[in-house]
Symmetry: C2
Subunit: 404 residues, 2 copies
């Protein structure tokens, strides 16, 4: 792959026009959109309107002019990206809080099933929150096993299988339908964490028969730092499952101000308190970009970007820990290197922002909406330059550079 090859790919890129819809940082090739997505240009005027007109002028009246429905309205905008119906998704709270609510509800669903099964090395908050959820249901336990022992861990006592669709470190992707079917064959519910896959790969929860899902919106969906997360509950479970964090926004009649809690119908029962409207406004503007996007084009471009960095990494002698088959991975590429932390810092010094994941992984995010093939080609060339640097051969390098 030459720079000219990359440029040729850019000229025929059907997604090329989206780049202008983002405020890309000057002098930087940003390969960390899998951690924090870039600012969509539409967010700035949307927030200005939310501040000046909706909050500043309309004030409390804005609650009746669109704010109160924001959790459902944004949920309906995420739904097509995950193969859900508009009334199966709600936005608000954090991914962790949604996970807590969904896990406790799943554990309470069938008294004979009180075990959460999940993967060792899953994104930490999934396991941390699972510990907390187990503490809220008498007799509940958490079984955390290696990926190759997950199938064997499912049994008569399994309430829910909790998996992260795309692994945050390696980019390995579970097959949604296959694992949902395995959970169901064991009589368990299937809960997907889509944080590292929504907006990155095609997702069809309905086809997979998934029961529950949560996901982050500040990565590939570009909703802004700490943007509110989403929760999906398949329609057939909406009446049967109860939100353990029973706040007033999930009440059937929040403005009747009655003492006793009575859950709302549908997804609204999963709300807790009042969501940040500023955060919702930013996310909504970011979500509106996706109206015009074909996920098949995203997947195809992601594969092309991956191939460019995989080739560069191989030329540099790096071990790639992400799957070679695009269908088995998300939209980032990870390399293992003894001095991965220092390599990440050296790349940043050259204007390529990726990130380090302990203990030895360099992770580079591939976001087809705003990265060009040439960007990624240049990042690959700089990666080779960094790895060729003689300094790495000195065993004391990492120690010396640990806090740079």
């Amino acid at each position: 792959m030459t720079r000219d090859d990359a440029r040729a790919l850019d000229r025929s890129d059907p997604l090329a026009a989206f780049r202008d819809r983002f405020a890309l940082p000057e002098g930087v090739i940003y390969l960390d959109g899998n951690s924090l997505g870039v600012l969509p240009r539409a967010v700035t005027p949307a927030l200005a309107d939310t501040l000046t007109r909706q909050w500043g002028e309309r004030l409390i009246r804005s609650w009746n002019e669109g704010w109160i429905e924001a959790p459902q309205r944004l949920g309906a905008k995420i739904a097509p990206l995950i193969g859900a119906a508009a009334d199966e998704v709600i936005v608000g709270d954090t991914t962790s809080t949604h996970l807590f609510k969904a896990l406790v509800a799943a554990l309470r669903h069938d008294p004979a099933r009180r075990t959460i099964v999940s993967e060792a090395g899953n994104f930490p908050t999934d396991l941390h929150i699972a510990e907390g959820a187990v503490g809220c249901v008498p007799g509940a336990t958490l079984k955390v096993v290696a990926r190759d022992r997950l199938a064997a861990a499912l049994g008569d006592d399994t309430a829910v299988l909790l998996l992260t669709h795309v692994h945050y470190k390696t980019a390995e992707r579970f097959d949604l339908a296959d694992w949902s079917a395995r959970a169901h064959a064991a009589g368990a519910l299937m809960l997907w964490d889509l944080s590292h896959s929504v907006g990155a790969v095609p997702i069809d929860l309905a086809a997979a028969g998934a029961d529950l899902a949560v996901g982050c919106t500040y990565k590939y969906l570009n909703g802004g730092p700490g943007a509110p997360a989403f929760l999906y509950v398949a329609r057939q479970w909406q009446a049967a499952l109860a939100n353990p964090v029973s706040g007033w926004m999930g009440h059937a009649e929040p403005f009747a101000f009655t003492d006793g809690y009575r859950p709302a119908e549908g997804m609204r029962r999963w709300l807790v308190g009042t969501p940040s409207i500023l955060a919702m406004a930013s996310l909504e503007a970011a979500l509106d970009l996706w109206n015009d996007i074909d996920m098949a084009q995203i997947a195809a471009k992601s594969a092309a970007l991956f191939a460019i960095l995989a080739e560069a990494g191989a030329a540099a002698g790096l071990a790639c820990v992400s799957p070679a088959d695009p269908a088995q991975r998300g939209s980032h590429i990870s390399f293992r290197h003894r001095h991965a932390y220092a390599v990440t810092q050296a790349l940043i010094a050259r204007g390529v922002i990726g990130d380090f994941r302990a203990p030895d992984v360099l992770r580079l995010g591939l976001t087809p909406l705003y990265l060009s093939h040439e960007d990624v080609w240049r990042a690959g060339a700089l990666l080779q330059e960094v790895i060729a640097d003689e300094a790495w051969r000195d065993p004391a390098y990492a120690t010396r550079n640990a806090v740079t």
Copy 2:
């Protein structure tokens, strides 16, 4: 009280200069700052910087340039308003989620004490969340009693007394020190909901010996719609109490990415997921206003504004349900009227925004930072005009106007 009297009060008002620091809506007298505070002018440039520079340019690097400490930094700015130390308060999540965490932690603290005591007619989410918390602790119960039976309800089984400092409807205020002492005398923890009092009345949690508190920041603190809430845990309980919603941001080492949860020291353990940085930026700019504010001046002006509306209400023949003694109330005034909903609407039509609380309360918020005495005098005159309207005498009025 004449209009000239009100103008004279404005001329000698030590807080008068703060009015210019808010973007007050045109043509409106806004008496709903107890529900959603007015936009502080400083918020707009702060959010522009957060969007354009911090998110847009610095991107992921901003996490190391101030974002990650935002929950503690904002907590330290709220601390002086509630009589807490800087390291006893944290910001993030919603009031409801903080309540859930604090109540479950309190219920688990002593196995012999598994009852939450609270007040009938407390703000609904407090009671709804208490129901949810009780469901997460085996043997726990919720005892909800009328205000005059609270003292008798405390006993050997009480884990925590949950009270809202200022009542959202009537503005009645509990004595912080007195009720904290009663809870302690019964061997229980004291948890205060300060949502309707922070920024409205002087608060000294340390002097009261309070154990736990939560509060809302989008009312008198003007943090923006759905702004993140705060949690206070007195230092002596910080090591003993555990957060049931054990998310990664509360982990001792969130970026070590280890499977097992290990709570951070101090207040950080109460964090759950990633807070919205846009919401935090807005709130922080709003909090910075309070550096220069003397709460005694707020209290004195609140009392003067109350007196103006109390006189107007009395002249109109309205029943005031808020306490006459300023030390026994918050910073709003409520009147009971058979057609309170329609009265609220008629006031709004005349440019006076207050709100209705079912079934029969007209509630008018008094926010000394941006309301003048003359504003409130004019609101009082318009209130008298509305009440004098012959239409109210028609028994069919409310029915006809129920959906205006």
